[in-house]
Symmetry: C2
Subunit: 185 residues, 2 copies
DNA sequence: GTCCATTTGTCGTTTATGCAACACATTGAT
DNA sequence: ATCAATGTGTTGCATAAACGACAAATGGAC
């Protein structure tokens, strides 16, 4: 990703901050967590926090992205193609991620979370599409955008009818549409 | 102890180094552990190691002192007096410490370990004696020295006849001598 | 509303750590 | 014995992090 993170001091400090934030998230709601709380927990100076993050929302962004990435990295994208199985895996990972979040009291930040999920999905879909299509044209990007919004939207709808069906069954019903579309990019 | 350790960076780095050293001690013998190993494990720069420690022997010193101190701190010296019970506690802590060390393959450093134990004992005994005697004279220091050597020597002898008796029983037989001496300082 | 305490972002300075390079010692293989 | 490889301890410089201070913003209590 970024190449400037090679300084071990930076890696250590960021991990301290992020871990402390995750720790505190288990104890109170996001709105009650202050920058001071985090830096006290992490035993770092408050000024150092602002050296790495714009503010606490920037931190939330990056922590969520990282957690989601870890969820998604359980799926080995390097080997898997964009097919029925991988789409189902991704969908399940997203619904799991949202379930974990709602348990951790991150209410009121649905918009932020939605954006993060879509951004990550777009990156992943674009990468997978590019592996299957040798030529790199604009339609790959647009397809990735549409897929990211579509899959995210499906996860929202699935949560709305919770307990009606498993996430696997839910997304499977859209596979014919998705796959034929992907094959004709 | 030292007042300069307040900088959180110093505390973090020293902990990283010491923890890495303890971790490595579980895998190989002391003679096979290099400074490079430690700094690689701790993910700190090698030059930083020398900022905190003279060399690897200095590190060994400080790690052992700290581990022993933690063992001894289980006994609450602030409240306890220098009596039969506390002497037995201290003796047991020392024999436990030595047992733990021999399991961790620190062979060949008996002299170093002996010195560390005696130094710590001397500090502790002097502190306890000073609490009981209001006047602070030279004989307190000498008494602390003799006690530290004596108790350490007793632990050596106990280990030599291992399985003969419990450490508690072993040191108990010296209590009459020790206590009457302490009372007449 | 006002007051008071706490938090937020920012800044300048000091200090600890990272990094690359160095000469030298130690080790191990041939 | 020689040579290469690795470890040691040290140095000068670059940079991240600590610290204290500050004005401004926020949030309760009254």
């Amino acid at each position: 990703m970024t190449q400037s993170k090679t300084d071990p001091r930076v890696l250590r400090t960021r991990k301290l901050i992020m871990d402390s934030f995750i720790e505190l998230s288990g104890k109170k709601e996001f709105k009650d967590i202050t920058v001071k709380d985090i830096t006290t927990e992490a035993k770092i100076n408050r000024a150092t926090f602002y050296y790495h993050f714009e503010d606490i929302y920037d931190l939330l962004d990056k922590v969520l992205s990282e957690v989601l990435l870890i969820n998604l990295n359980a799926i080995d994208f390097e080997k898997s193609e964009l097919n029925e199985a991988s789409i189902i895996d991704i969908f399940v990972a997203i619904t799991d991620f949202q379930k974990a979040l709602s348990n951790r009291c991150h209410r009121g930040y649905d918009e932020t979370i939605a954006r993060i999920i879509r951004e990550q999905l777009e990156i992943i879909f674009y990468g997978m599409l590019r592996k299957q299509q040798t030529e790199e044209n604009e339609s790959l990007k647009v397809t990735a955008v549409i897929l990211s919004w579509g899959i995210y939207g499906a996860s929202v709808e699935w949560r709305r009818n919770r307990n009606e069906s498993s996430p696997e069954a839910f997304i499977k019903s859209a596979i014919p549409f998705l796959m034929s579309g992907i094959e004709h990019v």
